[in-house]
């Protein structure tokens, strides 16, 4: 935590509220107002206590309460801010995962966990709309920000449209770029369903969170310029991930009007 943030913390010694509660409230407000970046280190207890002229015990109390409420995470006695937000772009246009992570002021990286060719079975066909029996390339990738897991993507591609995709796909080129370079496919539309699930064991483990922690599950069907289904994805993120979406009140009023006309 930088000096300027400590300076933003105001404690009132005449208040009936304890200094640790005041510090707790101030820090929580700073986090909620997004003065921190995700995983930003909160200064160590001694430093914080010294700068604010309070005891380390009082600092501990405030930090621990924020830790209990999931605003901070603790690793080897160091506290990090545990809230971060994704740009509102998520609900408005198709963005590259790397760009989205950069927009959060984090350094993006990617780890490919699995890649294989599979045949569509009944269950996969029902959710993905790919035909039973067709051959797909399945890739599981974990996208990270500053080395921390952010988004897990299970990607499925129709190999009838993209033969040998396996050989063209590499870690350095965005997938949509590869689809364009080798198959002249242009991504046109993506239909997404945003859901919340309790993360299954294997996925919770990847995000270093408790089994059954709630997380987002976003499924997407993506179509090309010929309205062919080119990609099906299931994406996961953990409970410290938030999306923003802004609406104008005028739109709401308009919306109500249109609906009432329809009725």
């Amino acid at each position: 935590m930088l000096k300027d943030k400590i300076q933003m913390i105001k404690l009132d010694r005449r208040s009936s509220l304890s200094l640790s509660s005041q510090l707790y409230n101030e820090l929580k407000s700073l986090i909620l107002d997004r003065h921190f970046t995700y995983r930003e280190k909160v200064c160590d207890k001694a430093q914080c206590a010294k700068a604010l002229g309070i005891t380390e015990i009082e600092v501990s109390k405030a930090f621990d309460q924020l830790h209990n409420e999931n605003f901070l995470i603790k690793e080897d006695d160091t506290y990090y801010v545990n809230q971060y937000d994704f740009s509102s772009d998520f609900f408005s246009r198709i963005v590259k995962v790397y760009d989205a992570i950069k927009a959060m002021n984090l350094e993006p990286s990617m780890e490919e966990i699995q890649r294989k060719i599979l045949r569509v079975d009944h269950a996969l066909s029902q959710k993905s709309k790919f035909k039973v029996g067709s051959k797909l390339l399945y890739v599981r990738r974990l996208y990270k920000g500053n080395g921390q897991p952010l988004i897990l993507l299970d990607l499925y591609y129709d190999l009838e449209l993209f033969s040998n995709l396996d050989q063209h796909m590499n870690d350095d080129t965005p997938i949509y770029q590869t689809l364009f370079d080798h198959y002249q496919t242009v991504i046109k539309k993506s239909h997404r369903i945003v859901d919340v699930v309790n993360l299954p064991k294997d996925i919770a483990k990847i995000f270093h969170v408790r089994n059954q922690t709630a997380g987002f599950k976003v499924t997407a069907e993506t179509y090309n310029q010929y309205e062919q289904l080119v990609e099906y994805t299931e994406g996961y993120s953990a409970d410290n991930y938030v999306y923003e979406f802004e609406i104008n009140v005028k739109e709401i009023i308009q919306d109500y009007k249109i609906m009432n006309q329809n009725i």
Partner: protein, 246 residues
């Protein structure tokens, strides 16, 4: 059981035909939460099939979490109707009620006034000596809870607030009709949330069930926060749908 059609001239296995028919009936609202399914024996009698086939079909439905067997009573639909709502409509509860062709019912479970809460007051830019109403509402559709809403309504914008009003019109409509401030835009933050046992009880879902947590601030054109709403939609009842174009 008229929602099941068995066609023995096709190649599709019988157990799948039953399973898919029941699933479709649940999705399109023919079958509702806690409706009883025909017994396996009844299925055998009507569709002239073996008990194993009927059992397999129900096993599949149980596996998918759509129905449950209750000992001594039968097999019941235990899933709720899920509303897929375009993200641009999520704040518009009328959209749900239109999709369900049913009226929404609101029930206030808490109505109180807070004197000072550091976080809430900070977020709503309220002074220590100002007052703020807190209300908790459960909103029902077809007698099933759809969402739980906690509203923080500063007293200065809501002079004559009471429980009846809360149940009749939305916080936004009240602002537009009865206050001098002009709501301009709403910022919403979406989070994944595990329901606490109290929240789960009000929403009639399992403890710790996943839910959409939506924190919405209503602002005026000067970007001053007017109202804070926290909505919890269990994943069982609502999913957001969005179409993106490149």
């Amino acid at each position: 059981m008229e929602y099941i059609l068995i066609d023995k001239t096709t190649k599709e296995p019988l157990y799948l035909q039953i399973k898919n028919a029941v699933k479709t009936a649940i999705i399109n609202g023919t079958l509702n939460h806690m409706d009883k399914l025909p017994t396996e024996r009844e299925l055998c009698e009507v569709f002239d099939m073996s008990v194993i086939v009927a059992k397999n079909a129900y096993d599949e439905l149980v596996k998918e979490g759509l129905v449950s067997r209750i000992k001594g009573k039968g097999t019941f639909v235990t899933t709720r109707k899920t509303y897929k709502v375009p993200i641009h409509h999520f704040y518009n509860l009328e959209y749900f009620s239109k999709a369900a062709k049913y009226e929404l019912k609101k029930r206030v479970v808490l109505f109180s006034m807070i004197k000072y809460d550091p976080t809430i007051y900070h977020l709503l830019h309220l002074e220590v000596d100002e007052l703020c109403y807190v209300a908790k509402l459960v909103i029902y559709l077809k007698n099933e809870p759809l969402l739980l809403q906690t509203l923080y309504l500063p007293e200065k914008h809501y002079k004559h607030l009471n429980i009846e009003k809360l149940e009749q019109i939305t916080a936004l409509e009240m602002l537009q009709r009865e206050s001098v401030v002009r709501p301009d835009h709403i910022k919403n933050v979406f989070k994944a949330h595990n329901l606490t046992s109290a929240e789960a009880q009000l929403l009639k879902v399992d403890d710790f069930a996943p839910a959409h947590y939506v924190r919405s601030f209503v602002y005026d054109d000067q970007n001053e926060p007017l109202v804070l709403l926290v909505s919890l939609y269990p994943s069982e009842t609502a999913k957001w749908e969005v179409d993106l174009h490149a």
